[in-house]
Amino acid sequence: MIGWATAAPAVSAAFLGSFVEVVEAFTIVLAVGTVRGWRPALVGTAAGLVLLAVIVLALGPVLDRMPLQALQFVIGVLLLLFGLRWLRKAMLRSAGVIPLHDETAAYTVEAAALSPDPGRAGEHLDWIAALVAFKAIVLEGLEVVFIVIAVGAGRGLLVPAGLGALAACCLVLAVGLCVHKPLSRVPENNLKYGVGVMLSAFGVFWTGEGLGVDWPGHDLAVPLFAAAFLLVGVATTRLVHPAGARRAAP
């Protein structure tokens, strides 16, 4: 039986990480649908989802065959690379060194690049537009797949983590269908900061387990690691670049 102390960090990391990625994919699909029509947008989206499903189905048996300790080590190292990269970027955004991600600006750029092509309107499918939607779904979806596998595979939490990601997809779609514009009010950098912190904490935990470390408190060590990463991240940003940190604190 999986306890809440074990499942909650994995589910919330999968939910928040997927939420950010799905918002970014939604912006591009919305631009495709609005500018070039909903048929290519939906065909591209469906094809992208099929490819992601194939990747998940292909990876599943490989993961099942790996020894648990080796799996924990490999996933832990990948999580450290992935999570610390997110956390570093979020720290640089908080410090004002790199600009915050703006969904409205991303939508405008994508829509301008997809300017309507009246010659293509009609019964033929607009393959270029479909390809743009497909690419967005595959590239953003790859990160969702990795997050779900990484936080779920080491402890038999793939289903709860997958449900967390699915809930994020449903929430973004529901809100997106209601507002019908880019979800620019989502505090993406704060979410990325939080996800970077949690994935880094999972990375230390799994890598340590893969090296034979028996963490004190077992699963409860993950929130403690997350607190350490958050504290160090915020303190570093404020100490090194106090003006930027005040402008865009996480």
């Binding site: 610390l84 640089l92 790199i98 790859l142 890598t207 090296l211 470390v213």
Partner: protein, 69 residues
Amino acid sequence: MRLLALVFAEFVGMFIDDEFLAVALLAVVGFAAVLAFFVHAPAFLVGVALLAGCLIVLVASAVKGIRRG
């Protein structure tokens, strides 16, 4: 083919963005592995080295990025 190359580049880019961060992180993991498997250090010490190393690498990489930016 171009799409496959793009997907592959994106996959690698998911893990490696700042070369210093990636190399330093792998060095920390390698150091912890040496402690665990060759020095046979106590497991708790391996864990402390891993966590502290990751925090130090994060700070160094972020400070480098902030000062450069």
